[in-house]
Amino acid sequence: MSLDPSHTHTPHLGLFVSGLCKSYGPVQVLADASFEVRPGEVVALLGENGAGKSTVSNIIAGSTKSDAGSITWRGKPYSPASPAAAIDAGVGMIHQELKLLPDLSVAENVYVGRLLMRGGRIDRAAMNSRASAQLKRLGLDVSPERKVRTLRIAAQQQVEIAKALTLNAELLIFDEPTAALGSEETELLFKQIRKLKAEGMSFIYISHRLDEVAAIADRVVVMRDGRIVARHERADVPVRAIVEQMVGRSVERMFPPLSEPGSETLLEVENLSSPERSFQNVSFSVRTGEILGIAGLIGAGRTELVRAIAGADPISSGSVRVAGKPVHLNGPAAAIKAGVVLVPEDRKAQGVVLDQTIGENLAIGNFDHVAPNGWVFPKAVQKFAEAGIGRLGVKGRPNQAISKLSGGNQQKVIIAKWISRPPKVFILDEPTRGIDVGARAAIYDVIADLARSGMAVVVVSSDLEEVLGLSHRVLVLSRGRQRGILDRSEASNVAVMELATS
């Protein structure tokens, strides 16, 4: 393990990344990132969400420009101005969200943007046979004339890889390629990667699943907070060691002290499953004054689970009881009536109406309070809004446009919207996503206060520190399955990550 790549500089025709930096406004997302990828090798890029993996791979793939630093590729300086320039230089990226045109054929997708022409017409025969050849190289027997929409996700991914191969890619970047794949499909992908590797191709492999990394990678680079914190020359590093490097920052944030939970059980979830199997057989309960954290990687089913409990998405089986009474989960209105409220994951798309004022946003969903007989008078809205604003310390006035508020204050408005009912179960999905670190402490205080006032609180977060700092207990999901519930005393970064990557 070495922190300075210049010592390991042996000349080869691979990729050298040196001192890359990138900031968005005042936020530095990438600081002095340096590593290398040799020909015929798979380098795993690891880190928590927001560690800078995507930024560095986007720079290499030409979709983002770096502020400083340089890249050498195949012995020449390399700074792609666009993904097309990167592809011309032999660098391709397979995104987590596949970039295919679902209503075009496999061959058309492989050759999109550079359709083969003959005599002014599209040469379908040539396109089909060449695309077919690349698919066979991957061991895939799919008709090139089939529409991409009709293929399984795994097969669609193969089409993306075939596309990169026809572009003569020498370096492929995979961003969480197995997130949507089953274990057999993952095995097939690994087989192909090994085959292409033997032919001299290089890979950057981004993943959260440490078991996979050990199986496929030759070397490992670990990132945290935009920096490279470790480089391992072999992939069979103990998982524990990598996890500690990924999460191992000292806690700088101030989490409020948690009050003792009461004894009465408020929320009981039993064997809950979703129709899309995004979560299965989840059971837990939350007491009055208790905060339950839900941890897991992206795609583990956390958001789907809490949305279902709040009535926002349908369930296929299982039951939810609030204060002993079963909740009929047929829509948000029923859940709200039963006392379950949700602060949704995507604040701008699901939480606030950006065209409206703070007061109007607070009144949505509370017309039964604001307007007991159906008449909404501006004065009543104003009074209701002032109460909510005052209670949570929102920096704004009722008639101010909510779009002018900071993310933290918008989030407080969403919480204030529900607080007056008062709810029995308060669910917050990613409560601090996109909110400045400095403003997070205020949100944490609010969440702790919700629990102190006797509500059962459920917090979903991708930020492990947040889950650990706020929760009395932590439920860990992985691929839709409940892997365990850890008590505050036994919940550590490592313990949670081990369950989440299992």
């Binding site: 926002a312 209105a333 949700l342 798309a349 606030v352 109406v353 409206q356 008449w375 101010q400 002018k404």
Partner: protein, 336 residues
């Protein structure tokens, strides 16, 4: 902007002034631009013609915009929730034909009241079907109401195999002719009363405010417990009823009904709502703005007639006005 407002309020006694300012801006929210446009238009026409600024002519304009005005109220609701209704012109014709068929002595001869009620029910059902196509079948509103536009027009033609029905009782036609108190015909009065009712509904009723939330973000509204689907159905149904009512008003004005009437009215109606400051993406708009939009179209047509401008040029002018109105609105928003 927010900063300078805050500073001036601090100096001049915070609450009363802020509240008064808020009330005034709420009343004209989003309609200031169209209102200025309407006033400039009236001013220009007063200066260029002798006849525009006469009581008689203003009453004429009001008479001429009743059909458009009543339809535009329903369209405002639909556009507010982020939808669109292309079927209103056809539904107008269908309702009028149903009324004629049920009421006229040559056909069922069941009397005017039965004819009017049946017409409104049929129009409401057309709207409800459009709504259900949107909420249950998940068709885009454009497609759902495009289909209804064709179906309703076909049905209107089927009733009499395409021929018109002429001649209604005197009391019915006089609804749009006799000016009570010297100025107000029943049909114009009806339009004004409906505008006031729906403006009050949208501004001060919980359900009305919910429509703004649905248009602003249907997902936020749904997660807040607002019954988005059933309100959407209601809005399309009401839009249908109002289109039917407009058909009845048109019948009173013409003393006849024909299956080809109301052709292209949906576009005039949408134009009026959009000129009035509503956003086609939903969540923004008001009855006040729509009223101004309706008047702009009415005054423009009337004024161009007075000036002797050919109807072909009138179409060009109205097209330019639509583009200008929405463009200025977009620029203003961007400047903010």
């Amino acid at each position: 902007m927010a900063v300078s407002n805050g500073a001036s309020e601090l100096k001049a006694g915070p609450n009363t002034q802020a509240a008064a300012g808020a009330k005034l801006s709420a009343l004209f929210a989003g309609t200031m631009g169209p209102l200025i446009g309407l006033m400039l238009l009236c001013l220009a026409l007063s200066l260029t013609t002798d006849t525009f600024l006469t009581v008689r002519n203003i009453l004429n304009v009001l008479d001429q915009v009743t059909v458009l005005g009543i339809m535009a109220i329903g369209m405002t609701l639909v556009i507010l929730i982020g939808g669109i209704d292309l079927s209103v012109g056809s539904v107008l014709a269908l309702a009028a034909m149903v009324m004629g068929f049920v009421a006229h002595p040559d056909h069922l001869d069941l009397g005017m009241p039965a004819g009017i009620v049946t017409a409104l029910v049929v129009a409401g059902l057309c709207g409800l079907v459009s709504g259900l196509l949107v909420t249950v079948t998940k068709l885009p509103p454009f497609i759902a109401t495009l289909a209804m536009m064709s179906v309703a027009r076909g049905l209107a033609n089927m009733i009499t195999d395409g021929s018109q029905i002429i001649g209604f009782p005197d009391w019915f036609t006089s609804l749009s002719i006799i000016r009570h108190f010297g100025f107000l015909s029943v049909t114009v009065g009806l339009m004004i009363v409906l505008a006031i009712i729906f403006a009050t509904f949208l501004n001060y009723r919980a359900t009305g405010r919910s429509l703004y939330a649905i248009g602003g973000s249907a997902e936020v509204a749904r997660l807040s417990g607002i019954p988005v689907k059933s309100l959407t159905n209601w809005v399309y149904a009401i839009c249908g009823v109002l289109a039917g009512l407009a058909g009845i008003v048109l019948a009173a004005r013409l003393d006849s009904v024909q299956p080809s009437s109301g052709f292209g009215y949906e576009l005039d109606t949408i134009a009026a709502v959009v000129i009035g400051g509503a956003s086609l993406s939903g969540g923004v708009g008001s009855i006040g703005g729509t009223a101004i939009g309706v008047l702009i179209i009415g005054v423009l047509r009337n004024g161009l007639n007075l000036l002797g401008v050919s109807p072909f040029i009138q179409q060009v002018v109205i097209g330019v006005v639509i583009a200008l109105a929405v463009a200025t609105d977009t620029w203003r928003r961007r400047a903010q």
